[in-house]
């Protein structure tokens, strides 16, 4: 018997069947954090990750019946939302006494809609480490009141929806227990060493959901706590390649350098990759990162047109990006740049600029990846479709996979978008269609 069972639903697209060999997979660290909170509260927890654990529905059913959980937690992104609902239906039937809660980046913004599905008992919006433990108290011990659980949405007896205010964002991230990685099948991921050193982003990029989920203020763990976790991951699981998955690992460069010094001081001898923003990094920091084992640095470039970058509020200058990429290459890092298209104001001309920029980067040895602009919930883009001249043409979230056009812009219909996306994919990677593929092949090169 397990008190709380968390499940990461599988990605619904068939591309996944073959992408498996190429695309980067990483453990659902959010579920690791939630499981740790549950364990800290004195309950049992387990995690099933259907993204990597091959299990058919019948096998899953048997496993869940054997676990007999009191509370089932399903994580959602927009892409996996419908699979979470499908799983919830199946689980309701398999273990009718278990309560089912959904959380994650999709339902944080679509809680009411999620609760229209009778197989969903609760939705927890936003960060949930504190609330999930209180919900477990309520469900497993009949302790406390649903109304006091921050971020919780539930149906009241009269059928109306009660929506508690979202929890305050955690300020003291150091106080959180490390994610329960022992519950995750780490050997099944291409990037098992995912670690999050901070939450939130001060960027205002119109296509990004990060700040809606994690807040528009950087909340950073202390360097010693971060390195302590790295060390424990190394000793407990034998990991030596790490993926700092923060939105902006270099949010505060001085703190990034401190992490690097600490990694060197402890002589951990690890390799790692991270994501950064060109306006929060400098040569000194890049050098410190290289010295501390960093191999790959990913920059969000998004477009090769300054005019477009300004229109999407990316807040970066192309010249600055060029300078930082040159610096990274000179230092011996492998920079990658991610692009998105089409942006609302993109024209054939601005896309030509992007293509030229991508070719220029390839000439220097920078790798690139591209995805189709998608209006995820919680983004400026999704809230301002009309005023940005965008038409929603596909509401099937099973297809919100960053490759399928789901909006048309003033200048491009879906057939144009397919064409420019494909051309850019071919230009970018000569057959490797996502940043995941790119990063995975890079990981393979390094290891």
């Amino acid at each position: 018997m397990t008190d709380v069972l968390f499940i990461q639903p599988p990605i619904p697209s068939p591309s996944r069947l073959y992408a498996k060999d190429h695309v980067m997979t990483a453990p659902p660290i959010a579920l690791g954090y939630l499981a740790s909170s549950i364990i800290r509260r004195g309950y049992d927890a387990d995690i099933i990750d259907l993204e990597v654990q091959d299990m058919n529905v019948q096998e899953l059913r048997e496993v869940v019946i054997a676990c007999d959980p009191g509370l089932l937690g399903l994580s959602t992104t927009t892409l996996t939302y419908k699979n979470a609902l499908r799983l919830a239906s199946m689980l309701r039937e398999a273990v009718p006494d278990a309560k089912i809660v959904l959380g994650g980046s999709h339902v944080t913004f679509h809680d009411r809609e999620a609760l229209e599905n009778e197989q969903v008992d609760y939705v927890l919006r936003g960060e949930a480490e504190g609330s999930i433990a209180s919900l477990a108290d309520y469900v497993l011990q009949s302790h406390g009141s649903l109304r006091d659980i921050q971020g919780l949405c539930f149906r009241k007896a009269d059928g109306s929806v009660q929506r508690n205010p979202r929890s305050n964002l955690l300020d003291q991230l150091d106080s959180l227990p490390y994610p329960a990685r022992h519950l995750l099948p780490l050997h099944m991921y291409s990037a098992p060493g995912l670690i999050i050193t901070g939450r939130g982003c001060q960027g205002r990029c119109i296509f990004c959901a990060a700040k809606g989920i994690a807040g528009s203020r950087y909340r950073l763990r202390s360097p010693s706590d971060v390195v302590e976790e790295v060390e424990s991951m190394r000793s407990a699981f034998g990991l030596n390649y790490f993926y700092f998955g923060d939105d902006t690992f270099t949010a505060v460069p001085a703190r990034t350098r401190e992490i690097c010094s600490e990694l060197i001081r402890r002589d951990l001898n690890i390799h790692w990759m991270c994501e950064t923003r060109v306006d929060t990094v400098d040569k000194e920091t890049l050098q410190a990162m290289r010295d501390a084992g960093c191999k790959i640095v990913q920059f969000g470039a998004e477009s090769g047109s300054q005019k477009i970058l300004d229109s999407i509020r990316k807040g970066i200058k192309l010249d600055n990006l060029r300078r930082m990429l040159d610096a990274a290459l000179e230092i011996g890092l492998l920079p990658t740049c991610s692009f998105m298209l089409p942006h609302p104001r993109d024209t054939w001309e601005t896309l030509e600029e992007t293509k030229d920029f991508v070719s220029e980067l390839h000439g220097k040895g920078v790798r690139t990846a591209v995805s189709v602009t998608t209006p995820f919930p919680g983004t400026y883009l999704s809230r301002h479709l009309n005023s940005l001249g965008l038409r929603l043409i596909n509401e099937d979230t099973d297809q919100y996979d960053f490759s399928t056009p789901v909006i048309e812009t003033t200048n491009f219909d879906q057939w144009d978008i397919r064409e420019i996306y494909m051309d850019m994919v071919l230009l970018s990677l000569g057959g490797c269609p996502t940043i995941g593929i790119e990063q995975k092949s890079l990981i393979a090169e390094i290891e």
């Binding site: 639903p9 599988p10 990605i11 619904p12 697209s13 068939p14 591309s15 996944r16 069947l17 073959y18 992408a19 060999d21 387990d46 995690i47 099933i48 259907l50 654990q53 091959d54 299990m55 058919n56 529905v57 096998e59 899953l60 496993v63 676990c67 419908k82 699979n83 499908r86 799983l87 199946m90 022992h182 519950l183 995750l184 099948p185 099973d398 297809q399 996979d401 490759s403 399928t404 057939w415 397919r418 064409e419 996306y421 494909m422 051309d423 994919v425 071919l426 057959g431 269609p433």
Partner: protein, 117 residues
């Protein structure tokens, strides 16, 4: 119609709704052809191939597609159309560009796997 699932009977097969496995493809509006990037590389499809590709979206069944094909090519014998469709489908399948049916939940968890820890 033989589409690689020999154990299935004809009726079941006709009800199947094939689904392409890649969303990286483009349609040439000049000559109605399609270029797709699959797991094994690039592939070009002629007009008829493009017509079928657009319908391999997991929503159209093979029997519905056959009816549409019949409307499009009334001069061709239905048996011939069926063979053509079957051969094209098998070809795409061999290129890993299409699956004969797709359930977003079941389909991804096809192989026997490990139990949770």
């Amino acid at each position: 119609m033989i589409i690689g699932c020999d154990e299935m009977n004809q009726e079941n097969i006709a009800r199947r709704k094939p689904r392409r496995t890649t969303e990286i493809w483009k349609l040439s509006r000049e000559n109605n052809t399609i270029t797709a990037l699959g797991p094994d590389g690039l592939i070009e499809l002629n007009q008829l191939g493009a017509f079928l590709w657009l319908r391999f979206d997991g929503l159209h069944s093979l029997s519905d597609i056959l009816i549409e094909l019949g409307d499009l090519y009334p001069e061709v014998q239905p048996a011939q159309l069926q063979t053509d469709l079957s051969e094209f489908f098998s070809y795409l399948r061999s290129q890993r560009l299409v699956v004969s049916t797709w359930d977003p939940l079941e389909g991804v968890c096809m192989n026997k796997g490990r139990q949770p820890s």
